[in-house]
Symmetry: C2
């Protein structure tokens, strides 16, 4: 007699069946560890993000399916920030007992992974009486042209962004598409000097580039692309303040030499809106140029506090 | 003016400083993702485990340092189960607000990682009002001789284990040393057909080999190495039952052809106690041979329930 499998093992079996085998996977789900190969010999690019119910999302308004998608997409957004190609993901979850959300969560995870040809190669499943936790590690492969780090910005470089900013809590923080393909396009189209994805907030994340590159920035207030959500949400902050500080936009923020920037913005085949929002300067810090005046910007951004309705 | 860094970034800075750079790390902590290379061209071996306060440990009796060590060691135990060489780890944590345990936790993480030349290449840091959560993904490199999976056991193979079993809750579940070096020794010394590390319980985990290898097992009751803790702990179960079912022993359970087993056990240079506890048979299921009688064993083992004092 072979004893009944526990719910945990049924869950793992389901992921195993859905995920299947894929190129580069020498050993998939079902052993103590998975094994993968990088045929190209290029570096493996690794990133990890943990999402916590009550901190990064609430169910409702988010559905377990939304959370599953987001748990993969935030990691793919980090790989996009390096212009890397997503390949594999490891998914560890802690499911709340008595709430049947595991299947829907996993559907969202598989859906987002499939959209970017990412294979789920393993993970860990737990259950408790607490909230839902999803911790994903994504593994990609460096682009043949190399990685785009945060540390290469130079004085005189343009600062550019994809898409629009602010008010992502109205829905975009759950429904965004990670800029994986856009990042590859940009990396192939121009000599990017630094790049990241905006999760903490446009200014907060720009500071990461400024510190790693040991430089400063001047942003043009009227150039910041402000989302419709940031304009229409009731708030004690202006739409511009929201765009600069809200976070979870998951757009790309990148720098490149001015001549490269001019050439890039002149292209008619850009897969996404690209906007020049300022330039890199030698003096440390970040200043906002607005109607002729300059304002020193603090490190704005959402910093891991629980926000109701998030 | 460069604004003050938040506690989260100070924590990341500390890991970055402690972890440093290491061979194979093209890009370490401090960017959107890390980048690593596998110079050997051998497969990357990936595993992940999430530890939850109240489920996998309690503070006290465990210290944050214990938890840090355990969070790395459970993953290294999984890599050992594949006879892989540990290389890198990604550590995501959620720290409970108002409890100063982050530094001590990180000391434990760094200590265990250092013992096995594992470099912390990244992670994610969060804070909330809930319990401590640590989710680690470890990445190793396959042994030149290949991986040892769960699926190669054959009828007639010996079933062997390292160390002793049972009663690990008395302390060993926190203080164990992952069998990384022992696994390499065994893989190089003999033609192992299947291997795993015992976390759920000796019988529960043996079932994984039996299912993946499509075979059964007969265990010899008097051969099971029972730990002193299993013998001395007050319990409504016998020491043998504890050894078969307790779990979290983090010893290796492996199979190999009988002649290979004989040769292995005859060696005088074994780095750890190795015991033959039974054999693989064609008939499915797992039976215990005890004083001439045979008992069918259920899938025993600890199955993710909260146990006070754990």
């Amino acid at each position: 007699m072979i004893p009944e499998k526990s719910p945990e093992f049924r869950f793992i079996d389901r992921v195993r069946r859905l995920a299947g085998q894929a190129p580069g996977v020498s050993l998939g789900i079902g052993d103590d560890a998975a094994a993968v190969t990088f045929e190209s010999g290029r570096p493996a690019v690794v990133t990890s993000d943990m999402l916590l119910e009550g901190v990064h999302f609430q169910i409702p308004p988010a559905t377990p399916h939304d959370v599953g998608r987001k748990s993969i997409n935030v990691n793919l957004s980090d790989l996009a920030a390096m212009a890397a190609l997503p390949r594999f993901a490891v998914v560890s979850v802690c499911l709340p007992r008595g709430r049947s959300i595991g299947d829907e969560l996993m559907d969202g995870i598989i859906e987002s992974a499939s959209e970017f040809d990412v294979t789920i190669i393993g993970g860990d499943t737990n259950a408790w009486d607490g909230p839902l936790i999803v911790s994903v590690t994504a593994i990609g492969e460096a682009h043949a042209k190399g990685l785009v780090t945060r540390s290469g910005a130079k004085t005189g470089d343009w600062i550019c962004v994809t898409g629009e900013f602010g008010g992502s809590l109205a829905g975009r923080h759950l429904s965004f598409t990670p800029r994986v393909r856009e990042a590859t396009f940009l990396h192939e189209a121009a000599a990017l000097t630094a790049m990241l994805d905006v999760s903490d907030g446009l200014v907060a994340d720009l500071f990461h580039i400024l510190e790693e590159s040991q430089c400063g920035a001047v942003l043009d207030a009227e150039a910041i692309p402000i989302s419709e959500a940031a304009r229409s949400l009731a708030s004690d902050r202006t739409p511009l303040q929201r765009a600069l500080g809200d976070g979870e936009d998951f757009e790309l923020l990148f720098t490149l030499p001015a001549d490269e920037g001019q050439r890039l913005l002149a292209r008619s085949d850009l897969p996404v809106r690209v906007t020049r929002i300022g330039e890199i300067v030698a003096e440390a810090g970040c200043r906002l140029r607005e109607e002729g005046s300059m304002t020193e910007l603090p490190r704005l951004g959402w910093s891991h506090q629980i926000e109701p309705g998030r």
